[in-house]
């Protein structure tokens, strides 16, 4: 039990600290690296809750794919974060308002009956051992009860994908394209032309 509490505090404190560093680091690349650290610690918290599938998905999708592309963009663009921070005090009240709303929502969640059952049980933080793997449990609930919502999510993603492709797809003139199939079918008879050259005349 001691070990589980210790790991919980380790993961959560590193996650919170690195989240703070994301907004306070001077170098944008360092910010993204701290964001990644925060993601990894969040996935550690998922493991402690016994949600190992979610933990791995978090690492694969957010850390392995989204954050890589994010880092890619931040490294390529010359973002001046000092300039971006100029309006910090101006936006502070709005940010604080958002934070307060979030805290109130979490408070309400704590006080409702449904969650009070979970927290009053005094269950220690440790992986919940189930007969059914949670991968299977997620599948069973996702493809039955939330089937239509799941499909709608897919369609929203498809729309976003088509949108981003149309934004980047530009038909530039003068681009030489490679036709692999026609290149592979080249042989001596199609590639070489024999000419009889008359002496003293050339072609």
């Amino acid at each position: 039990m001691v070990l589980y509490s210790l790991t919980f505090y380790l993961f959560s404190s590193v996650a919170v600290l690195s989240a703070l560093m994301v907004i306070s680091a001077k170098n944008p690349v360092h910010s993204v690296l701290f964001l990644i650290l925060s993601f990894v610690n969040a996935s550690g918290l998922f493991v402690l809750l016994g949600a190992e599938f979610l933990a791995m998905i978090l690492v694969v999708v957010y850390v392995g794919a989204v954050a890589v592309l994010f880092l890619f963009v931040v490294m390529m663009l010359d973002i001046n974060f000092v300039k971006l921070r100029e309006g910090f005090l101006q936006y502070l009240p709005f940010g604080a308002l958002l934070g307060i709303v979030l805290v109130i929502e979490l408070g309400i969640l704590f006080l409702t009956d449904r969650s009070s059952n979970i927290y009053n049980n005094q269950t220690p933080l440790q992986p919940i051992v189930n007969e059914v793997e949670n991968t299977k449990m997620i599948g069973q609930i996702l493809y039955t009860e939330y089937f239509y919502l799941f499909q709608i999510c897919g369609i929203i993603l498809l729309v976003a994908m088509i949108g981003s492709i149309t934004l980047t797809l530009r038909d530039k003139g003068g681009v030489k394209r490679q036709n692999i199939a026609s290149q592979n079918t080249v042989n001596a008879s199609t590639a070489i032309e024999k000419k009889k050259v008359k002496i003293g005349e050339g072609i």
């Binding site: 690492v59 392995g64 890589v68 890619f72």
Partner: protein
């Protein structure tokens, strides 16, 4: 109470060492084997001075490298520069925690083993990207950009290949994936997927013919151009350890892990760990063989292969496999 925790901790440390030390030693011999096999392919002798048949060459090289001066470029971002090789090394060893070498021979037999392996291998790109950026130099930066795009592209098809195998197994646990191959290894019914996985593994570990991140003729040494001494050794070890890890992943997914080829008398008395090792060595030999025989891909060809050939094909195969399994009512569970 605290005594128990101490004992458990010591057992865990012993288990980790029992996996990591053989992996590191096999990395040394893999480097030797690679140089020897390449030498044979190119009609040379290869290393033959240090020790009998030059077998201690890798240890001599490692010792030489570690005693050299570790240079940190003055224009580099020092913390990230030092962290990058450490991350590469740690990630290439972290994956070994879930690899089952034989029935029960596994440090951590978790439910989502294959997802863990996939996650660890997808994190491998960070070591390279951080090294390229922190070096503050053109060649490493170009190498890092190439590698980021390459690894993200090939992960997609690796993901689909894993899904096809999982459809036939019905579990994400690596031991269960191996046990599901008792009747037939997945390399036979899913042969096209096996080939795609092998080629994607080459791209994922930045091996020839896809070693564009460290393309010598255009990028000097790619992302580790600025590295020297111990930090270079860490990159080198990390790269070869992840090569062995990807080979073990191939063996577990397609070649039946620790299972003998046929469950008949003289074959099934051989311990599982020997079968596992033999198969991993076979895949590693393929890696080296490919390196010795194929020319390097051009970058646009590499991207074309990943997105326009492997992705549609593996997606089609996922649909075909699931359709087949549903139609013939062969879905597991």
């Amino acid at each position: 109470m605290t005594y128990d925790i101490l004992i458990t901790g010591l057992i865990i440390v012993a288990q980790i060492l029992a996996v990591v030390v053989p992996v590191l030693i096999s990395v040394a011999f893999l480097v030797y084997a690679e140089r020897k096999v390449l030498a044979l392919i190119q009609l040379r002798r290869g290393p033959n001075i240090v020790g009998p048949f030059g077998i201690l060459q890798s240890f001599a090289d490692a010792l030489k490298l570690i005693t050299k001066e570790n240079i940190i470029p003055s224009g580099s971002n020092k913390i990230v520069f030092i962290l990058a090789p450490i991350i590469t090394m740690v990630l290439s060893l972290a994956g070994w925690a879930v690899i089952p070498f034989a029935p029960g021979w596994v440090v951590s037999d978790i439910n989502v083993g294959i997802m863990y392996l996939f996650a660890v291998s997808s994190l491998g790109v960070y070591g390279i990207i951080m090294a390229g950026w922190a070096s503050n130099s053109q060649y490493p930066f170009l190498g890092a950009l190439r590698s980021a795009a390459q690894m993200v592209s090939y992960e997609v098809s690796i993901g689909f290949v894993i899904i096809t195998v999982l459809l036939c197994v019905g579990s994400l646990n690596l031991s269960k994936i191996v046990l599901a191959q008792q009747t037939v290894w997945f390399a036979i019914p899913l042969l096209p997927m096996f080939i795609i996985f092998f080629i994607s593994a080459l791209a994922e570990t930045n091996r020839l013919p896809f070693d564009l991140p460290e393309d010598e003729s255009t990028l000097v040494a790619g992302f580790f151009t600025e590295y020297s001494s111990a930090s270079f050794v860490l990159f080198f070890l990390g790269e070869y350890a992840s090569m062995i890890l990807m080979s073990s992943m191939t063996v577990i997914l397609f070649l039946g892990g620790w299972l003998p080829p046929f469950d008949v008398y003289p074959l099934n008395v051989v311990p599982g760990v020997i079968w596992f090792t033999v198969k991993v060595i076979f895949i590693l030999f393929l890696f080296i063989w490919v390196r010795g025989t194929f020319p390097r891909y051009r970058y646009d060809q590499l991207m074309r292969l990943g997105w326009k050939v492997f992705l549609p094909f593996s997606l089609f195969w996922v649909v075909a496999t699931s359709g087949f399994l549903v139609y013939f009512d062969m879905l597991p569970n």
